[in-house]
């Protein structure tokens, strides 16, 4: 049955890819949405059955085929649902379905063939994402990992007529390659170290070890895996691709670059919680990188003018939060935030999509304003999402974000907590900056939309609110953004933190074989968990106090936004002038792209110009420059001459090879 979950979207992909050009838009959309909804249905049934099992044995597995077998090495294509992946498949299929439905309206202006192509990629993405989260070992996960990357790449460049879109796709691809390199090496190292790639088996063998006190194999291997995670989840220093990825259609940004794929890195760490738990050095790095990313992206988000870019930096920032949670060992909190974030970030993206749709492709916040009256549904849902992400009490984001901050504080990471709190202030501010600039105030006047996202026939038409399909998705997600947090109400305020209980087995308390000694050891080796238990009972007061602080911070952030961007708009400009230097740095995203240009691209280019490599048949440098810059173009005639060079030169190369090898032996 588990196989059906990824298989249904895959069938949808096959149908749309093969017949998409011959069927109507309605049919193509129906196939895509139908397959996703069916997959959601199957997922629900699977999770229902999972919940029916006793907590200590909550895992369903299905071996599709025994993939590679050789001697003692055995990798199967096995799908497994445990609490963690159960949560993930619900998010992927549930939010995925909504976004598919939303897309039927959003992409309606595309040509038939393009429409079908869009949905086939989207379905393929869903299939790979489900393989990623359901995979029971690294290899199956890697299938999904690479597959979602490919789909993301194709979807970012979906409007390939736009040069920037194709470039953004390429950039995403190159940056992700660096991450994947780490991931594969980590995987190989895990294979060498444990002789298996199965998550449960690795966790079991790791549980028998003591946590590494020095930087050893486990630290190296987890760090390599984390490199993979930084690539996929856009963390420093590999975060540069995600903002550019906004060149893709907005529903894609919502599904892939906010709700699901980019959280794969977080999920991967959660999946290997026991492994990472035994590498405290790596965890420290994870926490620091996560916090730094959260802060950096939050500050950049403050000054961006493209509505989607603000949301993109917000995503990077929130992902940083999740990594912070992972880094301090609060796995549940991290996954909880992943869960709630999927709702409100998808909502915010879809809301921004509705705005862009209504304004015929306008994405610049400075040219919006006063949309509240004309787009009521969009406004209210967007507003809900903004409240949720800002961490206003009683909404989803509040519970999850608070959980992370509380755990950070309780774990003694005071500095990280402070930065986290500051970021939370920034979050509230930049989100409400968007709300106020776009929906409140006065419209900044009509401009012919330069963007190509929706080449509308006329710019002077009446603004219409989201069509039914889009509205449906927005309303459901808004409801989710309000309610999703209630699965994890902390005990301190009278909740029972169901999600923590539910997820706990996935993070190391899985005891497939009830074995007394093993249990005792596992309990001993979960100091974080133990500590949390104690802290939870002993310091409920502290938790309530911290909740108060973060509530105040959230409201304060909204207040700041209100003051600067609604009440006294000039103040914002004055601030920008007064702190021109800071503003420039932020507007230029800390010059990270420029740094890459200067540190990587330019030196290679200079080296090639100096002619160090003349005489080598390969266009090494040319290639590297073009490769990094993503500008592979014409061939240089000089090198072509060398390549079709004379036979004698080739013979010389052969002889040279012989001489060098011989020389080595004579010398020795």
């Amino acid at each position: 049955m588990l196989l059906l979950i990824p298989l249904l979207p895959f069938v949808g992909f096959l149908l749309n890819a093969s017949f998409g050009r011959r069927i109507s838009k309605a049919a193509a959309g129906a196939i895509a949405c139908g397959s996703m909804l069916a997959s959601f249905g199957v997922s629900t049934i699977a999770v229902w059955r999972l919940v029916g099992l006793p907590p200590e044995s909550r895992a369903l597995a299905q071996t599709v085929l025994r993939w590679i077998t050789s001697g003692d090495f055995d990798v199967s294509f096995t799908l497994r649902v445990d609490p963690l992946s159960a949560l993930m498949i619900l998010v992927v299929t549930g939010i995925g379905s909504l976004i598919h439905i939303y897309s039927t309206a959003y992409m309606h202006e595309e040509r038939d063939s393009e429409y079908a192509r869009y949905f086939s990629y989207l379905n393929l993405f869903a299939a790979f994402m489900l393989v990623l989260v359901l995979g029971s070992n690294f290899l199956v996960m890697f299938v999904g990992w690479e597959g979602v990357g490919l789909c993301s790449y194709l979807l970012i460049g979906f409007w390939y007529q736009k040069e920037s879109a194709a470039d953004a796709g390429k950039k995403a691809f190159i940056v992700n390659r660096i991450g994947d390199f780490g991931f594969i090496l980590g995987m190989l190292l895990a294979f060498v170290r444990f002789g298996t790639l199965d998550f449960q088996e690795i966790a079991r063998s790791v549980a028998a070890l003591r946590p590494e006190t020095t930087f050893g194999t486990l630290s190296a291997l987890t760090l390599l895996l984390f490199v993979g995670a930084t690539g996929k989840s856009a963390q420093i220093p590999l975060h540069v691709w995600l903002p550019d990825a906004m060149e893709g259609p907005t529903p894609v940004s919502a599904l892939i670059h906010a709700a699901t794929m980019v959280t794969a890195g977080v999920y991967m760490i959660g999946r290997n919680a026991v492994l990472f738990g035994h590498a405290p050095h790596t965890l420290t790095i994870v926490a620091i990188i996560g916090t730094a990313t959260a802060l950096m992206a939050g500050t950049i988000g403050l000054v961006q003018n493209d509505i989607k870019r603000v949301l993109a930096y917000s995503t990077v920032s929130q992902l940083g939060y999740m990594f912070l949670a992972m880094g301090v060992g609060a796995y549940t909190a991290g996954i909880f935030h992943l869960f709630t974030h999927a709702f409100f970030k998808a909502l915010l993206f879809l809301g921004s999509g509705a705005v862009i749709h209504a304004l015929a492709g306008e994405q610049d916040l400075r040219r919006m304003g006063g949309l509240k009256r004309e787009l009521p549904i969009t406004y209210w849902t967007f507003f809900t999402g903004a409240l949720a992400i800002a961490g206003v009490p009683l909404l989803a984001g509040f519970f999850s974000k608070d959980e992370i901050l509380y755990r950070t504080f309780a774990g003694g990471h005071l500095w990280l907590w402070t930065v986290g709190l500051l970021t939370s202030l920034l979050t509230a501010t930049y989100m409400f900056r968007v709300v106020f600039l776009a929906f409140h105030g006065e419209r900044a006047g009509e401009h012919p939309a330069p963007s190509t996202e929706h080449p509308a026939p006329s710019t002077q038409r009446h603004l219409h609110d989201a069509p039914p399909a889009m509205a449906l998705a927005l309303i459901v997600l808004a409801a989710g953004s309000v309610l999703a947090g209630y699965v994890g109400v902390p005990r301190a305020v009278g909740g029972s933190n169901r999600i923590e209980q539910f997820l706990a087995p996935s993070f190391g308390e899985v005891r497939l074989k009830p074995d007394a000694t093993n249990d005792a050891r596992a309990a001993l080796l979960q100091p974080g968990q133990e500590r949390q238990e104690e802290a939870a009972s002993a310091t409920e007061g502290l938790e309530r106090g911290l909740m108060g602080v973060s509530s105040a911070i959230a409201l304060g952030g909204i207040g700041i936004a209100w003051f600067f961007f609604l009440k006294k708009k000039r103040a914002a400009d004055e601030m920008a002038v007064r702190f021109a230097g800071v503003h420039r740095v932020l507007a230029n995203k800390y010059y990270v792209d420029e740094m890459y240009e200067a540190a990587v691209v330019q030196p290679i280019r200079i080296a090639s110009d100096e002619g160090l490599w003349n005489g080598v048949d390969v266009r090494v440098i040319d290639g590297a420059v073009n490769g990094v810059g993503g500008l592979v173009g014409g061939s240089s005639s000089a090198l072509r001459r060398i390549q079709t060079g004379s036979v004698r030169l080739y013979a010389v190369s052969v002889m040279l090879g012989v001489v060098v090898i011989l020389g080595y032996y004579v010398w020795r």
Partner: protein, 169 residues
């Protein structure tokens, strides 16, 4: 001792002519030096007590192949000087360098070798004395299969020559 003297004399001639083959400007002269070279190699075979091979060497290489070369040289008329290059000795220098390097390395190996015992191989087989009958016997019995494959090889070469030479189908 006498055999050694004969060998080194022949070897010196072979090497000398080989150098002349590649250094002579005139192509026809070059081919003629090649004939001489082949003849001395044939002499080497005689020295190794393989008269049949020596005769074949003279017949096939010195006789057949070189005559073919001469025909080609005369037909194509390579008298015209090589294309000008701003540094006509560039390639030659590189080649010379490589040749010297290889020679030095081989020399080093030879020197190193003399300090080591000569490799004695257990049961070195096939005491072929090189007479015609024995060669024929071997070719048609033990080495029949490679011999037959070689005939296929010649067929391929023949077809190839036809393919490359014919103008139209």
């Amino acid at each position: 001792m006498g055999q050694a003297i004969a060998f080194y004399t022949l070897a010196a001639f072979i090497l000398g002519f080989a150098v002349l083959v590649v250094t002579t400007k005139d192509t026809v002269h070059s081919v003629l030096f090649l004939v001489l070279d082949f003849l001395f190699v044939a002499a080497l075979y005689v020295l190794l007590d393989a008269p049949f091979l020596a005769v074949i060497q003279v017949l096939v290489y010195a006789g057949g192949i070189v005559v073919l070369y001469l025909f080609v040289v005369m037909l194509v008329n390579l008298k015209r000087p090589p294309e000008a290059h701003h540094d006509p000795h560039r390639r030659t220098k590189l080649g010379l360098f490589l040749a010297v390097a290889v020679l030095l390395e081989l020399g080093a190996i030879a020197v190193y070798q003399t300090t080591r015992p000569v490799l004695s191989v257990p049961g070195a087989p096939m005491p072929v004395t090189g007479n015609t009958e024995q060669v024929g016997w071997l070719l048609y019995t033990s080495y029949l299969i490679p011999f037959e494959i070689a005939s296929m090889l010649l067929l391929v070469a023949m077809i190839g020559a036809i393919v490359l030479a014919k103008r139209e189908l």
